[in-house]
Subunit: 180 residues, 2 copies
């Protein structure tokens, strides 16, 4: 009976052990699945925010770069509108100076005014358009004359109104009479 | 003996169970620690990048906001330098117009030139400084006259040179003679 009992209890023991192990395996299985998912979720979240961060960082650098470029452009061409608007005053002054019979005082006053206007424009990067041979990017032909041996095609006969550019940007073309 | 054996085996059983549980606990502990660390690391990484992302995002908005403000300021005051530089031309024109004995043609030409300059300046936001009673923010007293009953202190006797401002920013003060 003792043997029998021992045997019986051994079996019970084994069963108990198995039961315990089973429970443990279940517990492990139960804990493993959500734990792995939690880890995966955390890893996915980390990756997602790393990507978001990298994109935001790159975008910020782009925003800064664009803002700098834009600022430089704005600075470079800031005087464009006012410069364009005062060109007619400069034209008027030059026309007034071409009038015959001005007193010396008036002539001197007009010249000073014209020169200070030109100086102010130059300081902002405004320059007169060079008029050598006809260039459709810089000149507007408002009249043509027939070309001959002395006056080859595309040579300029007369400048009716000066052209101006701000740095490389044309403010207005020179109005010219051109041989063609 | 059967009872004794049973008892003994029960104890063994309990011990065995405890042993099994201990092993399981150890196994769990062994598995939990690295697993928890990995999870913690992932969570920390996720949190770190979330914070970095939020900071980068906020910084980007600041950069954009500042760039917009700066662009608006640049646009608003873009004509400041050129406007300031052409004020002497306007002074010259007004002085020329004050000269006696101008022919009508010259006078008309000068007036047109002056008016187109003023119009160009106005369009960019440049306005003449108002001269009513003396304001040290807008006027510069270059000469004083003794105040009397007819001319109270701080009233303006004469404007020697007009002042101008660009929006609310003073380009140059009006030069005045003031009673004091």
């Amino acid at each position: 009976m003792a043997e029998e009992a021992k045997e019986e209890i051994k079996n019970e023991n084994i069963e108990a052990k198995e039961e315990v192990e089973e429970t443990v395996v279940e517990e492990l299985a139960e804990e493993k699945t959500p734990k792995k998912t939690e880890l995966e979720l955390a890893q996915e979240k980390a990756e997602e925010f790393e990507n978001k961060y990298l994109r935001a960082h790159a975008e910020m650098q782009n925003v800064q770069r664009r803002a700098n470029e834009e600022r430089q452009q704005l600075q470079k061409y800031r005087s464009q509108d006012l410069a364009k608007a005062i060109l007619p005053s400069l034209d008027n002054l030059e026309r007034a100076l071409a009038v015959e019979g001005l007193t010396d005082d008036v002539k001197k006053g007009l010249e000073m005014t014209r020169d200070s206007l030109i100086r102010a424009l130059n300081e902002e990067g405004v320059e007169e358009v060079v008029v050598e041979s006809f260039d459709h990017n810089l000149h507007m032909a408002v009249q043509t004359l027939p070309a001959d041996e002395e006056h080859p095609a595309d040579s300029i006969a007369q400048v009716l109104q000066k052209g101006y550019k701000l740095h490389e940007r044309l403010l207005r073309p020179a109005m010219v009479v051109v041989y063609s």
